[in-house]
């Protein structure tokens, strides 16, 4: 039993890490209807910039601040150069543009900082929490718990930002209806730039957390692929969906790996998340929390 709990909790905490990446996708999709495939590259870019700055002897907070500013600038630049000219194009064109963007971002970050992998350390060791493992024989990583805590704080901050600030309300208005938002005088393009900047901030947080976990290397760009099943499971438009989807995928994936994996030869984590998401989609084609798709002829 304790092993089962350990697997489930471990999976849930791993799922939180997926949610961190998925959040960035959701923010941009909600506000501008762009399926931003470049989120994984943004994560990579942020983590690589941050780790390179700290390795050059910069203070932790200063490096974080500079990286944050860089991410905001990148976000604004993307909005200016890529999305603004592509307004009103079909979703697939926008998707392809963001895939083109991944080439640019990955090339640029490796050109600037080199392509060798880096280690990243936050001072929180990736070891089981002692009293838990002693008392109930459950091994839960300290770092995973910290990751969940960071994700919780991030969601709380985002929720506050969306509910209580003027910009946040404008963002929600744009997400609900572009034209109505324009009609009441919300500057659409500023809002998009802000959303991309916020997504850059989320990418920074995700990049640092994933960087500590797996090291800062090119493979970090694949975190986007981990976040995709979370997204379709939760629904593209829902922040709550990103969190709940992450938890379901994380727990399901770990359980399948432990209990199903040995029978089929292991290594199923590359696709099992998609199967879970597909099963949910067959029941609700727009994801658990997505907006209901209504077809009108």
């Amino acid at each position: 039993m304790s092993f089962f709990i350990e697997v489930v909790v471990g999976g849930l905490l791993a799922g939180v890490m997926y949610s961190l990446v998925a959040l960035g996708f959701v923010l941009i999709y909600k506000a501008s209807g762009v399926f931003n495939f470049a989120q994984g590259s943004l994560v990579f870019f942020a983590a690589l910039t941050f780790v390179s700055l700290t390795e050059r002897g910069w203070n932790f907070w200063l490096a974080l601040l500079v990286t944050l500013i860089a991410m905001i600038l990148v976000g604004i630049a993307i909005e200016r150069t890529v999305l603004r000219p592509l307004v009103n194009q079909p979703p697939i064109t926008l998707l392809m543009a963001t895939i083109g963007l991944t080439f640019v971002l990955e090339g640029a970050s490796q050109l600037m900082w080199g392509s060798q992998p880096h280690g990243l350390e936050l001072g929180i060791p990736d070891v089981p929490i002692e009293w838990l493992s002693q008392k109930w024989n459950i091994n839960i990583s300290q770092f995973d718990l910290f990751g969940a805590f960071v994700a919780g704080v991030l969601v709380a901050v985002l929720a506050l930002f969306f509910q209580k600030t003027r910009i946040g309300r404008a963002l929600r208005a744009v997400a609900d209806d572009h034209q109505a938002a324009l009609a009441v005088g919300i500057p659409l393009q500023h809002i998009w730039a802000i959303v991309w900047a916020v997504a850059g901030f989320v990418a920074l947080v995700a990049g640092v957390m994933w960087g500590v976990r797996n090291g800062v290397q090119y493979a970090l760009t694949f975190t986007a692929l981990k976040a995709l099943p979370v997204l379709i499971l939760g629904g593209f438009e829902s922040i709550a969906g990103a969190i709940v989807g992450g938890l379901i995928i994380g727990a399901g994936e770990k359980l399948a790996e432990v209990y199903l994996g040995p029978y089929v030869g292991g290594g199923i984590e590359s696709w099992f998340a998609y199967v879970i998401a597909l099963l949910f989609l067959l029941v609700r084609p727009e994801g658990l929390f997505g907006e209901k798709i209504i077809d009108r002829v």
């Binding site: 697939i92 895939i99 692929l225 593209f236 998609y274």
Partner: protein
């Protein structure tokens, strides 16, 4: 002046409905085929055949397959490389396990197996739409590669799933030289392109387009949703499967499952976006662009190195190439979202009026 349809009267329905109703188009197409089948084999060299022309043709076929599904039937798919992998590995197994298997039959078996996989992974499309479907097709991409790596039977229990394509022989004539492989690929691609062009002019093709434009309306006017969508997946995967088999037999020779990663799927998707969604010609133009451009960039970077006399590190060159490639794709999407095929159409319209545009 040269490109004008005035005076070309049609007196039969057949003449009215032919693929190229304008005489100049027919001549141009014939000239193109003659060049591809006769002139190029005479003047081309080993490098051109094996490194440029064959991959271009193979990827055109894959792009054509994806275009049938995405461009005509409107179902976004990111699993192209997986279908190609199925085609390649099943063609290999067909030759390996069935005695006296003719190679073209093996290609067809590869395509049919890919079509079966396509139908299986097309089933969710009955319920899931748009970007959700695109992400769902990623399941196919990852599952197929995993299965090929995991099931030893598929790669004849070779280490790490690498297969080596057998010798190709058609009617006792061995196909070994790069030129012969190019000709074989060209013949298959030309025939399948013709079939695709005709398919899209038929009832089936029109049903695909109706579903793409609005599936609820299509089902209201009596187009069977399930049959048509699954047929689109089947035909598209068949094309991709044959392309995968050609990729293995005529281009790579030795194939590892990692040749068919998500990257390849994206490249094929780029081809149809850059070339033109919903256009047969666009598949070829896009494939030409995506295969030739990296080679072009490489040549340019080497020329820059030679003229400036500096040695750039490999990492710098490849990263710069990635940036330029990505930037150019974005640029293309911005200036011509309908792709190269649209540019060609505009050129033809201009040509009709030339040299008196008023």
């Amino acid at each position: 002046m040269l490109y004008r349809e005035a005076g070309q009267f049609k007196s039969t329905y057949a003449a009215d409905q032919q693929i190229f109703p304008i005489l100049q188009d027919r001549i141009a197409m014939l000239a193109l085929l003659v060049i591809a089948f006769v002139v190029v084999p005479l003047i081309g060299n080993q490098y051109w055949f094996s490194a440029i022309l064959t991959p271009f043709l193979v990827l055109s076929l894959a792009a054509l397959g994806l275009n049938i599904l995405t461009g005509y039937a409107g179902q976004l798919s990111l699993g192209t490389a997986a279908f190609m992998a199925v085609g390649a590995f099943m063609a290999y197994n067909a030759v390996l396990r069935i005695p006296h298997m003719p190679i073209l039959g093996a290609f067809a078996i590869g395509g049919l197996c890919a079509a079966a996989v396509g139908i299986a992974f097309g089933l969710p499309s009955l319920r899931i739409k748009g970007l959700y479907l695109a992400v769902a097709t990623l399941a196919c991409q990852f599952f197929v590669l995993w299965a090929i790596n995991r099931i030893g039977w598929l790669s004849n229990y070779s280490s790490s799933g690498v297969i080596t394509a057998q010798r190709i022989e058609i009617l006792g004539y061995p196909i070994e030289h790069a030129r012969d492989k190019y000709l074989l690929t060209l013949a298959i691609v030309a025939l399948m392109a013709l079939a695709a062009k005709n398919l899209m002019r038929s009832e089936t093709g029109r049903a695909f387009m109706a579903i793409r434009d609005m599936d609820v309306a299509a089902s209201v006017i009596g187009i069977p949703m399930m049959k048509t969508k699954l047929l689109a997946f089947a035909i598209s995967s068949f094309y991709c499967g044959v392309a995968g088999a050609l990729y293995a037999y005529c281009y790579l020779g030795t194939v590892e499952p990692e040749a068919f990663t998500l990257d390849l799927s994206f490249r094929v998707l780029f081809m149809i976006i850059i070339g033109g969604v919903g256009s047969i010609l666009g598949s070829f133009l896009g494939a030409a662009f995506i295969t030739l451009f990296p080679i072009f960039l490489n040549v340019v970077s080497r020329a820059i190195e030679a003229t400036l006399g500096i040695e750039m590190s490999h990492a710098v060159v490849s990263n710069t190439e990635a940036i330029i490639f990505g930037g150019l794709i974005i640029f293309f999407l911005i200036v011509e979202p309908n792709g190269l095929a649209r540019l060609w159409q505009i050129a033809k319209e201009k040509l009709r009026l030339w040299p008196f545009p008023h």
